[in-house]
Symmetry: C2
């Protein structure tokens, strides 16, 4: 083997992999999860279907990897690949990351495939559990880590469970976005952080 052959082959395979990801995401938006097939993905990506079968065991596995790659690119853009920012100012850090989440959910390239997969997971328990475990839970863990650090710094009440606390921060955004109740804006993200941290009750 020539010394350059492996890198060339690796570049070619990266290119094919990306084309397959893009084709899978595009198809799930256009025809829905149920009608997306390995054959359809292969045709759209311009590869043989054996290429897909060699790399992935199922359609769900292709889409899971495509979404993971999409989420990683979005996280890189937002500068949050390895967790939430920790400047010591919890409110500011949460607002920064929730504003970035608002931007992602409002980005058509992310919104359409995320809606298609979320909808399928809502009616298909097995797929829903797999996507939640592999895609959503690792992101939620970033919030647990950040909230626990705030707790250790005495900024979060001692009795609070960070795994539940994070739901008061992110669920309102997801709810508004999925159910289209009202516009999803930076101002809304800021208000959710303020309300969740300070609480709704009047001081005693």
């Amino acid at each position: 083997m020539s010394p350059t052959k492996a890198p060339d082959s690796s570049r070619r395979s990266d290119r094919s992999r990306r084309a397959i990801h893009d084709a899978a995401l595009a198809l799930v938006v256009e025809v829905g999860y149920g009608k997306t097939t390995i054959e359809g993905i292969a045709a759209r990506a311009g590869v043989g279907k054996q290429t897909i079968y060699r790399w992935w065991p199922s359609k769900a596995a292709v889409l899971l990897e495509a979404f993971t790659a999409l989420a990683e690119r979005a996280a890189e853009t937002a500068g949050e690949v390895h967790g939430l920012p920790d400047t010591g100012d919890l409110a500011a850090d949460l607002k920064r990351v929730l504003r970035a989440t608002v931007d992602e959910l409002n980005d058509p390239a992310i919104e359409a495939p995320t809606r298609a997969l979320t909808a399928e997971g809502i009616v298909d328990p097995k797929l829903g559990a797999e996507f939640t475990e592999k895609l959503l839970d690792p992101q939620l863990q970033f919030y647990v880590t950040r909230l626990r650090a705030a707790q250790e710094a005495g900024q979060l009440r001692a009795g609070i469970d960070p795994r539940i606390a994070l739901e008061l921060l992110i669920a309102p955004l997801t709810h508004r976005w999925l159910l289209r109740t009202l516009p999803l804006t930076h101002a809304y993200a800021d208000t959710v952080v303020d309300y969740a941290l300070r609480g709704l009750s009047a001081e005693d």
Copy 2:
């Protein structure tokens, strides 16, 4: 016309209407929104499809009414047809209604069709907006009314917008249920109310 004829006819028509609702909800669970048809609903309900066309302009209209009836029966069971309870104890009232919501979402007769319609609304903006406007928004308005009463009683911070505050209370339940992250329990509903009302931050 005999005096008894109208009531008989009304009873018969109530029975048909209920059969059509039940058929529509069952079909949307079994085959999904896309494959549910007026013909299929008519066949399953044992009525002619002209009966359906006479009463409703579209499949979406049948399902909207079927869901409204389902939600009203659930609200009657929970004793909350005309709004949230107001005993003067905001936390207790919210826990009561959110525990009832947990029970509804965990009831297979409500869960399955609600998942099917929610999933469709997530990918179909027109249907999603219609269901949110006609089914979800009126329920959210009950929370606005109850939170505003608490605000007037000095129990909620003066600057809080009740329309946003309610999202911190109900969105965590919806998020957990739709995305199957963790079990949806009464204890969870209670914790969400406690966290939302008191806030996550340590006292200054």
